[in-house]
Symmetry: C2
Subunit: 346 residues, 2 copies
């Protein structure tokens, strides 16, 4: 196996032209089956694999999908030694799908702040020339980033974003999930339900709160049955918010948290204050990371189809016809995992 086999070597060995080999490796049309076969086997004999950089230079695809995540939040998770289920799921879904198409997934972090994000994204696509970019929250809602991608002609998929379908959008029905969970708690007899919100800069959070309020409004219980407090997706803010809630005259009988970590904080404070879960307090969250099974009691949670959303995004971006900017809305189903953290109002 020569250390550097080029398309020319293959062509020479097969006694054909460069272009014919190119057609074979790209599964192009108009090559006689017998010839294709022969070239194919020579490719294998020589251990040839086309140089992606060269393909890109020649005007072809780069065979790369660039997945963008928020730097601050990602690093915070890693730094806290907390694991990063979202990243895991992204890689799982993204890499699996990319592999199927002989693509490569490139994962990068960019800052939250728009100016910085813009320049980082710009240089990333300039350097890597990916065939598509996947934007996750909160970047998926940043119109400036989307506009940049549009201008550069790079197709993008927006995860967790539901807009006018002018781009590729892959999402779950957050409002419905929140409504469903809330209704579930209402059915269990809960009369005072608190929602600890993540960040209003996440459309997903906003949508969930809307769903939560809908469920409360359309139920027969009092209007004060539901209230929202502000967290920031992390333990401390949620612990503080929940502790404050407990100061009030009527304490909540159930809490919905925007992510697992905030739910853990609620569990923690509840324990400290002598509240038994689920007897005195039911707790539900949105996320369903691996850790929920180990909490005491195990946490009930809505699970976003993260891996599936990224996989779908990859599929759409990859299979788009060259030169065509793909678009479309894709709603994927969530699942609700009921565990011991919820129960009827005592």
């Amino acid at each position: 196996m020569k250390s550097k086999v080029t398309i020319e070597d293959v062509a020479k060995a097969a006694g054909v032209g460069r272009q014919t080999v190119s057609r074979v490796i790209n599964n192009g049309p108009n090559v006689k089956p017998a010839l294709r076969q022969r070239v194919q086997s020579i490719i294998e004999d020589l251990g040839y694999s086309p140089n992606l950089s060269a393909k890109r230079m020649g005007g072809g695809r780069s065979y790369m999908i660039l997945a963008i995540n928020d730097r601050a939040r990602t690093l915070e998770n890693w730094h806290a030694g907390r694991g990063n289920d979202w990243v895991d799921q992204m890689l799982y879904g993204g890499m699996s799908e990319c592999e199927r198409h002989n693509y490569h997934l490139l994962f990068e972090l960019i800052d939250t702040e728009t100016q910085a994000a813009l320049s980082q994204l710009s240089s990333a696509i300039g350097a890597l020339r990916p065939d598509g970019v996947i934007l996750t929250p909160p970047h998926s809602e940043n119109e400036a980033l989307v506009a940049l991608l549009d201008k550069r002609g790079v197709p993008c998929a927006r995860i967790g974003y539901h807009g006018d379908g002018s781009h590729v959008e892959v999402f779950m029905d957050e409002a419905k999930a929140a409504r469903e969970v809330t209704e579930k708690l209402l059915e269990l007899g809960h009369t005072r339900i608190g929602y600890i919100a993540g960040s209003s800069s996440y459309g997903t959070s906003v949508a969930r709160i809307a769903g939560f309020r809908q469920a409360i409004a359309s139920s027969c219980v009092s209007e004060t049955a539901g209230f929202v407090s502000e967290g920031d997706f992390n333990f401390d803010t949620a612990a503080k918010a929940f502790a404050e809630t407990l100061q009030q005259a009527a304490r909540p009988t159930a809490i919905i948290a925007d992510n697992d970590e905030m739910a853990f904080a609620v569990l923690h404070i509840a324990d400290r204050e002598g509240l038994r879960v689920p007897n005195d307090l039911s707790v539900v969250s949105f996320e369903d990371t691996p850790g929920v099974r180990f909490s005491v009691p195990p946490l009930s949670a809505v699970r976003q189809p993260t891996a599936a959303m990224i996989a779908k995004a990859c599929e759409v971006l990859i299979t788009a016809k060259a030169g065509n900017i793909p678009k479309g809305s894709f709603e994927l189903p969530y699942t609700f995992h009921e565990r011991a953290s919820i129960g009827p109002r005592d």
Copy 2:
């Protein structure tokens, strides 16, 4: 901002030659400070970022480090919804270090079986032409893969492997860690200590067992104080192994497991059999994933410096002078996190 700014555009705008711009973007020598300054600012004005594919084609670096992980084990973790702390740590360490050098980390999975691994690795480096490859266990111990990389002239770093230093090796002292943990348990008065091994195809496992045996041998307790049973890094095999152990006349008073999941299995079986941890049984593991804090009781564990190892590997690969295959051995410190799962023999 034009959608495609090339080095030529910059050169023209600055009234200089291509090569001068090239020197500026690569921080090359022999450019007058004033000129460099001027070109630099024009680059920013134009929003130019060099096309990596073109750089690579021109004979330069690819600015990519390829990190290889084992497909089966990685997918198994993901599939089981278990999170993948190893992958998280790899990305954390790798991406952080790569970013510092303006590099990109590419993450790929390849099969365990040598022939398949060989052809997958071959086509990956053929396609991507990375400047360096990071091999993790068990691939880091696969000489065939290393030989392939050598032949192709691609520098590689072997993680968790300690050999003759003919390549880049980054590891921790597994034997010492196992020895230390074992000694700790002996000090606590344990007289019968079981080691549940991962896979003998992992050098790290083999080294730990050696350390374990050393500690047992050099202690004053009976020779039957330590014994090893075979798991396979997963729950079921460990549960089975431990359950069998309990059948024997003299049951263990302490268990060391080769990874967290197997330790969880031990915890599970112990609970089922009415053994209290740590009163009746002490449990320690190697890995220290985020989940250990949530188990009951929280698991004591040795933590591998995964992120730091990958970061070190990236650093060495990236800063190697062009054309030089870097080599060297780097031992990084582990940490032991003592939690409630161990205690004195009752």
